[in-house]
Amino acid sequence: MMPLRKFSIHQPSTVAEASQMLAQYGEKGRLYAGGTELLLAMKHDLLRYEHLVDVKTIPDLNRIELKNGALMIGGSATHRAIERSAIVKQSLPVLAEMETKVANIRVRACGTLGGNLCFAEPHSDPATLLTALGAKAHVQGKAGVRAIAMDKLITGAYETSLAGDELLVGVEIPVLAKNQRAAYLKFQLKERPTLGLALFLELDGDNIKKASAVVGSVSVSPTQSEQANRLLTGTRAQVEKQIGDAAEALANAADPVDDTEGGADYKRHLIGVFLRRAFVKALA
């Protein structure tokens, strides 16, 4: 890590002001919400910005609340705050549990959910789980407010569908109904996960009515496969029979490549291992 190049920090007091600053600085500016990834990339001289728009001081942007059967988590809520939130622990324990294992305690103490999602680093734990849970990002820009489904927010490695003047103000995550289950598992050797796997199931007695399996870290963004999700529905016995095919469909969709984290075939194999484990865990 090299010394940081000079930059200015701007601290807007409202979301509208932040949006206006982002529009004003354009390519030379970037939203700064925790810095655990952004500043690291800047210290490695991989990114250069003259202006950082610090949204951490915008009042109430870090709020965590339960509203109409959904968790509303503000964009500048830290991982640590989410992990320790009584509301989250009670209403969506799978999210709290995932957050306890994000990176390390130093990152969790500064890093924010909004920053994590908008930086769109391919190894994001939250992005994978939130995609499976059907979460929506609420964003605000010059043109006003809109909601984006998680799988439409992250469009590639380090890429989102946010306009230059838009910022993520919060994430809306439906809490699990009585007949819904979810699990998140990851396989990690290095600083970032090799694989993250999230599974959401909706039950009707012994039948699995609806399923959503999402694999992260093995490719540029969290991936799911309609075919895999279909194969994960039916009676439990049926699904157990089909789970190998579902894993293969998911692996085909993710299409992992060989890299320093492992060969493509190994990652495809891990998708199967962790889909099975997530299935058992979700139904436990």
Binding site: M1, H44, K190, E191, T260, G263, Y266, L270
Partner: protein, 759 residues
């Protein structure tokens, strides 16, 4: 603590809390990074993006015009200096001259008012290269059409520390060769009852220290002053003296606390470059590398080993043969000695009648390799201790019993011409085996193994010291040994306090300032307790001898009438402590006595090695067959240390070494793809964490006072690393029946081996 010896020691052999603990954990300890000289400038380095290329031109005018920049130094600006250094082989330019030999090699340095300005100016330097074909493995280096890395013949470094001829720079890419041979291996293999043979690979690893390389140089017409994070300041002094063509007396190296070394800070690293910057900028200059830059500065030699071992029908090991190729990277650094040591360390600690080991290190276009904790031993203990288990399995023997049968016995000259074995391997193995529950039932998917290593340690015996006893009865040790975190500055005053019969708190340590502290060759090879410890002990005894004479003078009696007692002297009814002797001698409550010691290769240190560093480790692990992931369940270390001057510190060294060895066994590996290092940051290079350690860890010491050092002590702190990768490979074989001959045993490698087995 096992092997308890009854002693009447008051201070040594006690676990006194480490002296530097409080200042370090409260952030008050000073490292080079904390120091600032008046008028000091800061340097940053431009590194080559190419692995092998001619430097056609460097345009630095734009960078030099950048506000705040004092100067830019390149390989074209070194007229007036002898720009090549190397204690073994003088092959290393302080900045690339005419060509670059690895991606990451320093090509230019900017000196500026602050670090950021220096960094920002780097991109304005325009270097034109002509790319050359690169070679990245020993096999490529030996190919007929391989390009030559080093075109010129080298001067051998005066302090090379090994016996053989320098083979570097003789028109090939061979850096160094070494061979040992006795008996007749071919004949023995023909007569053998069982033979095992295989190819093994030990990876490139990085000796991660929390403190990356850092130095401050101040070059004036008075001489060269350098503050550095160096392990061996006297070795660095020698290189700087040659570069600046100065007498030894005009070069001063000062080493404050060092934030970990593990071999990576042995010998010269950034000091010549920062000194050249100061020389050009005409002011003090600090250069502090980042971790990523440190990873482009040195690494361990990776090793390709073919090994073959044979037993007779009684289970006695009768022969071992090996051919090793080591990848030494772009410059020799200390690799010629690593080659010699890894050759020797293929044998121990077993008595084998027929041995042939041939070793060769090769220059490649990769980061230069050098010393690494264990010094070539881990590289060959992976094959060596793997083959012991493989052979035991083949002949149906318990591997622990099989080791006991063949291990070198105390006093046995198992390595012809070397010091007879001074450890007790049976006790080491027994202790390790018991600690991990040898012979008790084991869960499915679990494996349990023990392994040993014995290395010719202590480096070269050339050490001197002075102990100053002051008029108030306190004492100051002047030592060239560097406190790297290993605890030397706690252990040495323990010895002095014991000898002088004064309290431990009264002994201070002044260290590693080549202008002030007497010469010590190095702080490495586990030698400090044995060699510097002996020197401190002797210096105290010499001071006492002087004070006995002084007491006779003061009391107006003959020297023979003075009896030395703990903390002073007695003459009839009169007792004087050291303070009284000195004060009365000078007739003032001030003044001092200086005790000295010069240790060389003679007397009890005539035989090499200085000592055999022996240790056993035991592990139990489990394997997740679905993912291939290994979980450590139990770990035991047994350090065969003769006598622990400070048992808690000795055990701390062992768990540190074993953890480092575990890292190599499980996940540490620098990965090259073509010319580029792919994981040159600690985000991508996986280091061991506390959470990787098993819940059950037992640390044991065997203390038979069989070492050549003070009170029968000998060195430790490396040996527990050496056997860990083999131990993990052996335990995986026991757990799930796959033999992996390559470290690290990453989940993916274990999974692939299982897949192959289940085909």
């Amino acid at each position: 603590m096992s092997g308890e010896t009854k002693t009447d020691f008051q201070i040594v052999n006690h676990s006194i809390p480490r002296r530097d603990g409080r200042v370090k954990v409260t952030g008050k300890a000073q490292y080079v990074a904390d120091l600032r000289l008046i008028g000091m400038a800061y340097a940053k380095v431009l590194r080559s993006p190419l692995a092998h290329a001619k430097i056609i031109s460097i345009d630095k005018s734009k960078a030099e015009a950048h506000p705040g920049v004092y100067c830019v130094v390149t390989g074209f600006d070194l007229d007036g200096l002898n720009p090549y250094f190397g204690h073994a082989v003088k092959d290393h330019p302080l900045l690339a001259i005419d060509k670059v030999r690895y991606a990451g090699e320093p090509v230019a340095a900017v000196v500026a008012i602050d670090e950021r300005t220096a960094f920002e100016a780097l991109e304005f330097i325009d270097v034109k290269y002509e790319e050359l074909k690169g070679i990245f493995t020993p096999q490529e280096a030996l190919a007929k059409d391989a390009p030559l890395l080093h075109e010129k013949k080298f001067e051998a470094g005066a302090l090379r520390g090994f016996e053989g001829d320098v083979t570097a720079g003789q028109g090939t890419n061979i850096c160094q060769t070494h061979k040992i041979q006795w008996g007749d291996v071919d004949k023995a293999f023909k007569e053998a009852a069982a033979v095992i043979e295989g190819d093994y690979y030990f990876p490139m690893t990085y000796a991660y220290a929390m403190e990356p390389y850092v130095a401050i140089a101040d070059v004036t017409d008075q001489g060269v002053n350098v503050y550095s994070s160096a392990q061996h300041p006297f070795m660095v002094r020698h290189d700087l003296k040659n570069i600046f063509n100065l007498p030894v007396s005009k070069v001063r190296l000062i080493v404050p606390f060092v934030g970990g070394g593990y071999g990576s800070k042995s010998y010269t690293k950034v000091e010549p470059l920062v000194a050249a910057c100061s020389w050009k900028a005409k002011r003090p200059v600090k250069l502090q590398l980042t971790v990523e830059e440190a990873m482009l500065t040195t690494r361990s030699d990776d090793a390709y080993t073919w090994m073959k071992t044979a037993v007779d029908k009684n289970g006695k090991i009768i022969a071992r043969q090996a051919k090793i190729m080591m990848n030494t990277g772009a410059y020799a650094e200390n690799s010629p000695l690593v080659v010699e040591k890894s050759t020797n360390r293929c044998v121990g600690p077993y008595a084998i009648a027929n041995v042939l080991i041939e070793n060769m290190s090769l220059y490649t276009n990769t980061v230069p390799a050098s010393s690494y904790r264990g010094f070539g031993c881990a590289q060959v203990t992976l094959p060596g201790e793997s083959q012991i288990d493989e052979l035991a399995t083949k002949i149906g023997r318990d591997p622990y019993e099989f080791r006991l049968q063949n291990a070198a016995k105390p006093g046995e000259e198992f390595f012809p011409g070397m010091r007879p074995f001074d450890g007790t391997l049976k006790q080491d193995l027994d202790t390790a085996a018991k600690a991990i529950g040898w012979g008790t039932p084991l869960a499915k998917g679990h494996g349990r193994t023990v392994a040993v290593s014995g290395s010719d340690a202590g480096a070269y015996p050339l050490t001197s010291t002075a102990v100053r006893v002051h008029a108030d009865g306190s004492a100051t040790i002047m030592t060239g040994s560097t406190e790297l975190g290993q605890g030397s500055h706690t252990v040495l005053p323990q010895i002095a306090a014991e000898e002088l019969g004064i309290t431990y708190d009264k002994v201070n340590v002044i260290s590693s300032d080549t202008a002030i502290t007497p010469y010590d060759r190095s702080t490495g090879a586990s030698r400090t307790t044995t060699l510097m410890g002996s020197a401190v002990q002797e210096a105290c005894q010499e001071a006492i001898a002087q004070m006995v004479v002084m007491a006779a003078d003061v009391l107006k009696v003959k020297k023979e009438e003075i009896q030395s007692v703990r903390g002073g002297v007695r003459c009839g009814e009169v007792e004087l402590n050291w303070s009284q002797v000195i004060s009365k001698f000078y007739a003032l409550p001030d003044g001092e006595v200086i005790g000295r010691s010069y240790i060389r290769k003679s007397g009890k240190f005539a035989a090499l090695p200085v000592f055999w560093e022996a240790a056993a480790t035991g592990v139990e692990l489990s394997v997740d067959e679905d993912t291939g992931k290994i979980t450590m369940e139990k770990l035991a270390t047994v350090g065969d240390v003769g006598l622990a001057i400070n048992p808690a510190l000795a055990e701390g060294q062992d768990i540190g070494a074993a953890t480092m060895g575990m890292g190599i066994g499980l996940f540490e590996e620098l990965v090259y793809e073509g010319s580029q290092l792919m994981n040159g940051s600690i985000l991508d290079y996986r280091l061991p964490r506390f959470s990787d350690l098993p819940k059950q860890v037992e640390l044991h010491l065997v203390q038979n006072r069989d070492g050549v050092g003070p009170y029968g002590a000998k060195g430790g702190g490396e040996a527990s690393l050496n056997s860990m990768a083999a131990n993990i490979a052996n335990a995986v074989d026991k757990a799930v029946g796959v033999r992996i001959r390559q470290a690290p045993l990453t989940p993916e490698r274990v999974w692939r081996a299982l897949k192959e087995k289940n085909k």
